[in-house]
């Protein structure tokens, strides 16, 4: 465990070096957030029926999405790992006296964590002080906030567990692009990045609720705004845990089976 902790720490420090890149990212995300809020505002303005999620909750949802984008995006990837697999340098990784799954998991986790840590503060800070109706609001009470933090962290672990499959699939296909696109498009859609899950038609919501993707980001964000009641949120935490353990187990199994067949082609 200590090894993984130090990998995590090291990678976190490396990730924190890219401050100017993060700043550019923040600007982009702000713009993005504004645009989507304005689009939804326009949709809400003349609506005849009451939408299933209020505009206020939706705005908070969008800002959280922008602040923690690194926790949602599946195509946020580590090209280094892809190169390792395709170029054969994976041999070095296999020599290390640690379990490959845990090692990579820690690495990927640190990347997302550092990127989110750099970006979320400026976005959240400004989002709170924006003029109405664009501002973000505080969660209804402290317990909701604590639940939000728990679900967000579990969501992050879950997302990394999902993204591990991306890297594992490259062992088979040798080109990351195909799986990246499929994972990216489907995963992001069902995580509510394009339209929030409550606004999807019912049949699509049903699909989204079955898939693990929405538990990574959509769920914690709605817990935050109080759109998901506390009692439901606690049940959700257990579902998240269940998914997490299941995916970790499957991922390890899959990685071990591809590693058995891995061919290192000189190089």
């Amino acid at each position: 465990m200590k090894v993984y902790a130090s990998v995590l720490k090291l990678r976190l420090l490396i990730g924190m070096q890219y401050r100017s890149a993060a700043l550019a990212g923040v600007a982009t995300q702000f713009f993005w957030g504004f645009i989507s809020i304005m689009v939804f505002e326009a949709f809400y303005e003349f609506t005849a029926v009451t939408p299933p999620i209020s505009l206020k909750e939706l705005i908070t949802y969008i800002w959280l999405q922008q602040a923690f984008l690194a926790f949602i995006m599946l195509w946020f990837r580590d090209n280094e790992l892809f190169d390792l697999i395709t170029s054969g340098n994976i041999a070095y990784e296999l020599c290390r006296p640690t379990d490959l799954y845990g090692f990579w998991f820690a690495k990927l986790l640190a990347q997302r964590l550092s990127s989110a840590l750099l970006r979320c503060y400026p976005i959240l800070l400004v989002a709170f002080f924006l003029p109405k109706p664009y501002n973000m609001t505080l969660p209804p009470n402290v317990i909701t906030f604590i639940l939000f933090v728990i679900t967000l962290l579990l969501g992050l672990l879950l997302l990394v567990a999902i993204s591990m499959f991306l890297y594992i699939s490259v062992f088979v296909t040798l080109s990351p692009m195909g799986s990246l696109l499929i994972f990216g498009v489907l995963g992001e859609f069902f995580a509510g990045l394009i339209i929030p899950i409550p606004l999807m038609p019912l049949w699509l919501q049903k699909i989204a609720y079955v898939l693990p993707f929405r538990w990574t980001a959509d769920f914690p964000f709605r817990v935050y705004s109080g759109h998901i009641a506390q009692s439901d949120a606690i049940i959700g935490v257990f579902i998240q845990l269940g998914y997490l353990l299941g995916l970790l187990w499957l991922g390890k199994l899959a990685l071990n089976s591809v590693l058995k067949r891995v061919v290192v082609q000189g190089g």
Partner: protein, 260 residues
């Protein structure tokens, strides 16, 4: 010009060497805007309209801007990935050749897999046009054509500006994405749904509004006043590329090699 087609042909052949990868990527490119469009469709299913705009009207808007975007990503990719040319010092080689830098950079890379994206927007375009009660005339068809061309020119202009910045920063700038990806995202809805200042900025500074909002009004017959003026706006919008071209020339003169 013939040189340009030679570049085009060579790069096309080289990409076609990896045929499976090419098709997979194209299919992937098809699905990226497809998911965005699905989102748009579902929103309309729930809300019915957006500030008085119908679904098919917005779909037309969406198709035009995505078509322009995919074409420009295909043909102006050289400027988009220009920073790698600078970092590796390859731009020195471009400078010693007796042809214009613009043409060579433009021809340095094409991304043919964007055909998937183009196909997706073409399908949306046809679907939208079939469902809109438009009285067609030659002028309107011409306007539609100009809208797309002018969109391509504007996107190319933004790529050029971003590439020019590389002369000073060496690294590529992510901020430019606001205007390319962000601009595309924004312009897929008619501009008047946004706040005034956004609409103004994207009409007068970066003229996306002239590509798909003002001429769209003309095509849909929603104009008030002089129709010809609305029709000519895409042409005015395409003037955007001229200052970009000048800035590029200015940047080239200030180029300092990284020496690697």
């Amino acid at each position: 010009m013939s040189l340009y087609f030679k570049y085009l042909l060579i790069l096309f052949k080289s990409q076609m060497q990896y045929r499976t990868s090419f098709w997979l990527l194209s299919i992937g490119q098809f699905f990226i805007p497809f998911s965005i469009f699905a989102g748009l469709y579902f929103l309309f299913e729930r809300f019915g309209q957006i500030k008085g705009w119908e679904f098919f009207e917005v779909a037309l808007c969406f198709a035009v801007i995505h078509m322009a975007f995919s074409l420009s990503e295909c043909f102006a990719r050289g400027f988009d990935t220009f920073s790698s040319l600078i970092i590796k010092g390859d731009f020195d080689r471009v400078l010693v050749r007796p042809r214009s830098t613009f043409l060579q950079v433009l021809g340095s890379k094409f991304e043919f897999t964007r055909i998937g994206r183009l196909l997706q927007s073409a399908i949306v375009l046809i679907w939208a046009l079939n469902n809109l009660p438009i009285e067609w005339s030659i002028l309107k068809a011409l306007t539609l054509f100009f809208m797309i061309t002018s969109g391509v020119l504007i996107f190319t202009g933004i790529y050029m500006l971003a590439a020019t910045m590389c002369f000073w920063t060496v690294q590529g700038l992510e901020v430019a994405n606001i205007f390319t990806d962000g601009g595309r995202e924004m312009a897929q809805y008619p501009l008047n749904i946004y706040q005034k200042w956004v609409a103004r900025f994207f009409t007068y500074v970066i003229p996306f509004g002239t590509v798909n909002y003002l001429p769209l009004l003309f095509i849909l017959g929603k104009t008030k006043g002089d129709e010809i003026l609305y029709m000519l706006t895409p042409l005015a919008g395409s003037l955007f590329i001229l200052p970009c071209f000048l800035v590029w020339q200015f940047g080239v003169r200030h180029y300092r090699s990284t020496g690697s």
